[in-house]
């Protein structure tokens, strides 16, 4: 049985029933075709933003369309249509099919796949979880909390966004899978001024649920206070050191280290093509003993989680590194087939107008034994970085960066003073071999990450415990 909401949203308006879907399958796939899918998607999104104390703008967006992908060997043909109607679908199907030799069409029956486990999120439309006035009140509460936190706060910008997405995947085998995905996010940025000096601080959170999450446990105001705290720390920051030193990374969002340093390099497409610094290294030591890293799309309500990936495969927990040894890559269907393994449920795409590829979900390191205080106390001279902006990696050389937005100097085991944001640079295949202490405080990020690859953005999560890394290059301006 097809999920009612998916059927009503995607199929019924175009009059698509079993007969039409069978015709579409027969036209798209068949002999000479190894895989592919018809990806039906409906997504609506809203955003409310506050600036100067007033909610002065808001937007609403609706996208609806179908992407048709035909895979033969290592080749992919792809076409999409914003028009979900039989003539446009057949036209896109024939266009995508042009990649394969004109073979006989085949009769493929539609078989609806039932979920293999309980849903990780409710199929609710998050936009309906609060009325419009309450959304505005929520943003005003954030604004008020930020301004009340410190008189040096001069600007507060915050935004609330919600996405309601319905997907239906009909693959080349005729298997039909659906998923209804909520996603919300609240973001805050503040500017604080002291004399002529201005600094900013940012915070936020979210996940796959409704807006009421932000009303619970004083979360919204908490984000505001956190952004203010960061801005005030930065008002006191001195120039960052330059050079190679011991670095202690805080728990949670600094896990962006793992995403850049090893995550991308373990995606199946780069490894099939042999272009990753990790290619052909399964079974080798790539991290210190005691380090285990997983990608897990099955965490309830997390921003990076999915019931099924964008190819209809159930997500799973995939062990990437176990006790320091490289165990596996993240796969979508095509790369799994071409390398003789199973998909790990990591086939993701930004929308129907984009091709799927192996992408991360929630990538994190399991906790260790060390007390975080003990880790800091062990550092004679180094940097303690607790908040980061984004990062980037060169998959082939393995060089990666991530930029600290809140960091401190550590001297003789004590955190002494804040330093300005600086970029940290390292080499993916060996940075984790330099991890000498793993904290017992594993934490996931608050739900703010978006990963970009080949121009496609998808929501992801990261996490880690406090870590001590013995030797990373810190890109400040002061000779250390």
């Amino acid at each position: 049985m097809i999920d009612r909401l998916a059927q009503q949203t995607l199929l019924d308006p175009a009059g698509l029933g079993d007969h039409e879907l069978t015709t579409l399958l027969g036209t798209t796939f068949g002999r000479g075709v190894d895989g592919g899918d018809c990806y039906f998607q409906f997504a609506c999104q809203e955003g409310w933003s506050l600036e100067d104390g007033i909610v002065k703008s808001a937007s609403f967006n609706i996208e609806r369309g179908v992407g048709i992908r035909v895979v033969r060997g290592e080749q992919t043909g792809f076409a999409y249509s914003d028009d979900i109607a039989m003539p446009a679908l057949l036209d896109a199907a024939r266009t995508a099919r042009s990649i394969a030799d004109a073979g006989q069409s085949a009769r493929i029956a539609v078989a609806s796949r039932a979920p293999s486990r309980p849903a990780l999120y409710a199929p609710e439309n998050p936009m309906d979880s609060l009325d419009e006035q309450s959304k505005i009140d929520l943003l005003k509460e954030v604004d008020a909390a930020a301004r009340a936190a410190d008189p040096r706060v001069t600007q507060v910008m915050c935004s609330l966004s919600g996405v309601h997405e319905v997907v239906l995947v009909l693959n080349a085998r005729g298997e039909l899978t659906t998923d209804v995905r909520p996603l919300v996010r609240l973001s805050v940025q503040v500017i604080a001024q002291q004399g002529d000096r201005r600094e900013s601080g940012t915070s936020g959170g979210g996940g796959r649920f409704g807006y009421r999450y932000f009303l619970e446990n004083d979360r919204a105001a908490g984000y505001a206070r956190e952004a203010v705290r960061q801005a005030l720390v930065n008002l006191e920051a001195r120039d960052a050191p330059a050079g190679t030193m011991k670095v202690v990374l805080g728990p949670g969002w600094p896990g962006v280290l793992l995403h850049e340093a090893i995550g991308h390099g373990l995606e199946g497409d780069f490894n099939r093509k042999g272009t990753s610094a990790f290619s052909g290294r399964i079974g080798e030591r790539v991290a210190a003993k005691g380090i285990t890293i997983v990608d897990d799309g099955t965490l309830e309500g997390r921003r990076g989680s999915l019931n099924v990936d964008d190819e209809g495969t159930a997500t799973q927990q995939t062990v990437l590194i176990e006790d320091g040894i490289l165990r596996g890559y993240m796969q979508d269907e095509m790369n799994a087939r071409l390398t003789g393994v199973q998909s790990t449920g990591n086939g993701r795409r930004e929308s129907y107008a984009h091709l799927p590829m192996p992408r991360m979900t929630n990538t994190y390191m399991l906790g260790g034994e060390a007390d975080p205080e003990e880790i800091l106390a062990s550092v004679e001279d180094g940097l303690y970085a607790v908040n980061f902006g984004g990062g980037q990696v060169d998959i082939t050389s393995g060089k990666f960066v991530f930029s600290a937005s809140e960091a401190y100097r550590v001297e003789k085991g004590k955190v002494t003073y804040p330093v300005k944001g600086a970029t940290l640079i390292g080499n993916g295949p060996d940075v984790l071999t330099r991890v000498s202490m793993v904290g017992n405080d594993m934490r996931l990020d608050p739900g703010v990450g978006t990963c970009g690859k080949e121009g496609q953005g998808v929501p992801v999560g990261v996490g880690q415990p406090t870590l001590r890394i013995d030797g990373m290059t810190v890109g400040g301006t002061q000779a250390a």
Binding site: S57, D82, G274, Q392, S397, K399
Partner: protein, 457 residues
């Protein structure tokens, strides 16, 4: 007020757009009418549509063949000083009405902003020159395959250390867009963009390196030859083999043109309207102040025929014009849309949608002469990570490139950072090269900076 007729090349069969100019204009008008009917005091609508083909070849075989066809309708509805925005990719009449309804519903909840509203009608484009932006390319999948194969093959042939490829690709796209508003503005044009690129992987005992080359233009005839693109990709990749770290030091830094562009990109962000009215710019209130050395000139040239950033009017229909941004090192103007202009008590500069063809006046020396002038220092050819704080100007980015001594490249460098503060970096620019890169919205030659901090071992 005027309704400008369309000035465009005849619609050829090749890269035929599925929606005519008349039907898109009609859709804009119906959207505006529906918004007024729902009580909007003013409205602005954009309808756009594009078709494209992207083909990539890897190791001689087709890897992906993508047919692109996009369309969208977006609307801003004003109810006095309150506004709401909505957009859709659905071109049904019902979706048009739903979109109008959504924008109007939102506008009833947003709060009045004294600065919100339509642009000053006197600033809008009345008539405009054809900027020569529409050059459809008769390139089907078969021809694209041949071109991509030729690019990649030239790359493999250039050097035996090229052992792998991320592929060569050909991308061609044609777009049409119309903007209309309730004050009677209606304007639109067609444009094309064609690109060819190649990314290769080389290996030696020390490991693998990847790099790429690309060419992009409005007219296919302006693209570089396939062989040149493949060879350039191979040269750029192979020269990175054996990269080393540097020790931490201060030294001169020469930004190759495609990296110099990012330095100027930070400047355009800092002088943008929102950065100014939010007081979140390291160049706050800097008009009239020396930002660059007194010999530097930077212009915005949105009216350059065939250039990639050209447009006859901005995202609000305000006429664009070629104008100085920096004269003799002194900042002349911000880049403002009408909202930012009202916030700052100034006039719109036709920059809704950003600055266009920002052009740094080249100096008199070419790249080799700049290397010689630097003498000993770091040539940066790649930057990674964000690492630029627009509020403070603090700059710290991952870099790769080459160590230079006596004006000669010595060896490749990787896994280092370069850092400083942009206010200081701009003042320490000592030369701009003649090697201008026009493949984007910022046109500049190499930029030599007197000194920055390099962090490494």
């Amino acid at each position: 007020m005027s309704t400008s007729p369309e000035r465009m090349a005849p619609d050829l069969e090749i890269q035929a757009l599925s929606h005519s100019a008349e039907s898109l204009q009609g859709r804009v008008q119906r959207t505006l009418d529906a918004a007024r009917a729902q009580g909007a005091s003013d409205a602005q609508a954009v309808v756009s549509h594009s078709v494209g083909l992207e083909l990539s070849v890897r190791k001689g075989e087709i890897e992906t063949l993508e047919y692109e066809r996009d369309q969208s309708l977006s609307l801003i509805a004003y109810f006095g000083q309150s506004k709401g925005a909505a957009s859709t990719t659905d071109f049904s009449e019902q979706a048009l009405l739903d979109t109008v309804e959504a924008a109007c519903r939102i506008a009833r909840y947003t709060e009045p902003d004294p600065h919100a509203g339509m642009p000053d009608p006197a600033l809008k484009a009345g008539d405009w020159d054809d900027l020569d932006l529409d050059h459809p390319w008769d390139c089907d999948a078969e021809q694209a395959t041949e071109l991509a194969r030729a690019i990649e093959a030239a790359g493999f042939a250039a050097d035996s250390r090229i052992e792998n490829s991320e592929g060569a690709s050909v991308n061609t796209r044609r777009a049409i867009a119309f903007l209309g508003d309730s004050q009677g503005f209606m304007g639109g044009y067609r444009s094309t963009r064609h690109a060819m690129s190649c990314a290769l992987v080389a290996r030696d005992d020390a490991g693998m390196q990847r790099d790429y080359a690309y060419s992009v233009a409005r007219h296919a005839a302006d693209l570089d030859a396939c062989e040149a693109i493949g060879r350039m990709a191979a040269e750029r990749t192979v020269r990175r083999l054996g990269g080393r770290k540097l020790s931490t030091r201060s030294c001169p830094v020469l930004f190759a043109p495609e990296m110099a562009r990012t330095l100027i990109g930070s400047f355009t962000r800092a002088i943008s309207g929102p950065a100014q009215y939010r007081h979140s710019s390291f160049l706050l209130n800097a008009v009239g102040e020396p930002v660059f050395p007194d010999w530097m000139q930077i212009e915005e040239r949105p009216l350059t025929p065939r250039a990639l950033g050209s447009a006859p009017f901005d995202g609000e229909g305000v006429r664009t014009r070629n104008r100085p941004l920096v004269a003799d090192g002194v900042l002349q103007s911000y880049t403002l849309d009408s909202y930012a202009a009202r916030r700052l008590g100034l006039e719109s500069t036709g920059n809704a949608g950003g600055a266009r063809n920002v052009t740094v006046k080249p100096g008199e020396r070419d790249f080799a002469a700049l290397l010689a002038e630097m003498g000993t220092g770091f040539l940066v050819t790649e930057l990674i990570g964000q690492g630029v704080n627009t509020v403070t100007g603090d700059y710290s980015r991952g870099a790769a490139g080459f160590w230079v001594e006596n004006g000669e490249i010595q060896y490749p460098v990787e896994e280092i950072t370069i850092a400083g503060n942009l206010k200081d970096i701009y003042q320490r620019i000592v030369a701009v090269g003649t090697d201008v890169d026009r493949r984007g919205n910022i046109h500049t030659g190499s930029i030599l900076v007197e000194s920055m901090t390099v962090a490494g071992d």
